[in-house]
Symmetry: C2
């Protein structure tokens, strides 16, 4: 194997795949990037943790075909620091040593044979994909993917629902205490449908690499037990979580008997300020609503208490309701609007936070019982 | 006690003193800031860990005199998040509760009586100070204070030498493996002298708060066992380290048989790049000097090796010398010049790194023996 790449192109490729390589694995080859130089002008970089696999192509001048795996961390460290433009890789097939050479520098890296790397890409079926705008997709998973349960790693609640039906992409997640859902209108020309539970970790990786992928459109392919997300040069293959996801849409009240309209940034600042005085275990902040006024309150037994008054629009019955303030903040920070509407019912019913102008995003937070 | 302060002024005060307050202490009052409202238009904030004490004044409108201590972390968290301008503190002397109030917010903080706070400021003698330009002082301690031994916390090598003689301020530190020294010309009109070992931690704190202190000049006062650094509003009182400091000036060779001239940024980049391939325990990088060429090399048994060639000015005998690259980098990063001169003798003698244009800063690094 011998090829020459542009340093920045190769670094971009490393950035796309390196998040999946894991040093802690029992299989050392999973800490490595599989480098394959098997076609004419392009090499392929691949990493996998067996559940999630990412592969991307980098333009290259190939002199000799071949493949090897090299440590992801070392490649990343070298390429982020390298100041030169052209880099040549040459593999000694007998020793698995790779010489990485530029005009003024020379590295010798110890590789692991590519035959030890799991063969995941061989069984990927790319038929009947659904095309989606990539920005729209990443925006939706950012807005509605954060509420997946962090306390479990394999069950349905550890995943994010991705439901494509006609012209609507719906992304939702819930951990039982809060729920986020967004609906985006998409061009689904072929009118295909698909409903999946995708591991939250897969979508976090998609968000992380979205800045390094240039395409405007991606295609989503689903098979029985996996999902494939494909841009022109990059392929993300993830297992799907099987099992029954709660019917979250039934939990979202269609109307709320009481509604408050609050300036979103003011509410964020107040929650952040008053959170200084919460009990760090429970994170409870009280909302006291009276006519056109919201009082945000917290207290701890050993530290004291704090409150802030906000002028809001509210003309329903006075009420007091308490939340884990972090759940409220997560939703508020995923909105862009100036105002947020808070839909309330009783102090024991879920509260609905949604942007004033947009009806397709909601963040639902279960209140906390207080004395 | 009751007073009103401007939020930004008070926050600046907190930033100056809060680094010394320590939550981990056995004495809870040491996690607090002592707030004293005892003169007309100014309150005083003080923190101490018993070795180091910082006190600063903040303009205030005082309605009732008094004093209390309040948790440094809570005050810092509240004031960094607070969006309002005027803040009123009122103490309930019976309960030690302090109400902290702005137009829209209200906090109740639980204080500890000021009588429990150590009385350190009472015995400070401010006579016969030496006046120094503050920027010059912080620049010197940044350049030459980093080499103090981190492996000990009380002995002389854990400190930094501050030697004022006639018109020269000399700052130096060494941990036995490397040494940094700088000499700055100062206006010492009264021709006072002073030679002290100041704890490195004290000087780190001086560097940290230097951005929040506006004065151009500071005064340094020394007593038998302590040093006082004073600006118009801020007082830093630190213990001095007693004991014998090695005569480091004797260790610095006056001339070097071999000299290389290297572009400083190129050397920094090369060390950072090749450090990817060092053994992380020893951090050894080899310098191979031949005519007008420097080869920077590293290798590890299980990871491979790396090297970079640099064009330099060198016409002395070929030589190979090895260093802990972190020690070399620390010195190089404290210089501003385009070129660095490396003074060498044998592969077992200390190497002298100094900026090309400036003769009063040197960083000396002991080489590492290699096979």
């Amino acid at each position: 194997m011998k090829f020459t790449v542009n340093k920045d192109d190769f670094l971009n490729g490393i950035r796309i795949v390196s998040g999946v390589a894991t040093i802690k694995s029992v299989q050392p080859v999973l800490a490595n990037i599989l480098i394959e130089a098997e076609s004419k002008n392009v090499i392929k970089l691949t990493t996998t943790d067996l559940d999630l696999t990412i592969s991307t192509e980098v333009d290259a001048q190939i002199e000799e075909e071949g493949s090897i795996t090299l440590p992801s961390k070392k490649l990343n460290d070298i390429f982020t620091r390298l100041n030169e433009t052209l880099v040549t890789f040459s593999l000694n097939e007998d020793t698995n040593l790779v010489e990485v050479k530029t005009k003024n520098t020379n590295f010798e890296l110890i590789g692991i044979s590519s035959s030890e790397f799991p063969k995941i890409l061989e069984n990927v079926n790319l038929e009947n994909g659904i095309e989606i705008d990539f920005k729209q997709f990443t925006r939706a998973i950012k807005q509605a993917g954060f509420a997946a349960a962090s306390y479990e790693t394999t069950g349905p609640l550890s995943g994010v629902v991705c439901d494509i039906k006609e012209e609507i992409l719906e992304i939702a997640s819930t951990d039982g205490n809060r729920l986020a859902r967004v609906r985006e209108k998409i061009d689904n020309i072929e009118k295909k449908s698909s409903k999946l539970i995708i591991p939250a970790r897969t979508l976090q990786e998609v968000l992380k690499i979205s800045g390094f992928v240039e395409d405007e459109k991606i295609k989503i392919y689903t098979e029985k037990s996996k999902i494939v997300i494909k841009s022109s040069k990059t392929l993300i293959i993830s297992k799907i979580i099987e099992g029954h996801y709660p019917d979250y849409n039934k939990l979202i009240p269609e109307t709320s008997p009481k509604t408050a309209k609050v300036r979103r940034n003011e509410l964020i600042s107040a929650l952040e300020l008053i959170s200084v005085m919460v009990n760090e275990k429970t994170c409870i902040i009280k909302f006291e609503l009276t006519e056109n006024k919201l009082e945000i309150k917290a207290d701890t037994q050993d530290g004291g208490k704090g409150k802030q008054d906000l002028d809001i629009e509210y003309s329903d019955e006075d009420m007091v309701i308490a939340f884990n303030y972090k759940y409220v903040l997560d939703g508020l920070k995923n909105m862009d609007d100036e105002n947020v509407l808070i839909g309330l019912n009783t102090k024991a019913s879920p509260a609905l936070f949604k942007p004033d102008s947009e009806n397709d995003y909601i963040s639902l937070v279960m209140p906390v019982q207080i004395r």
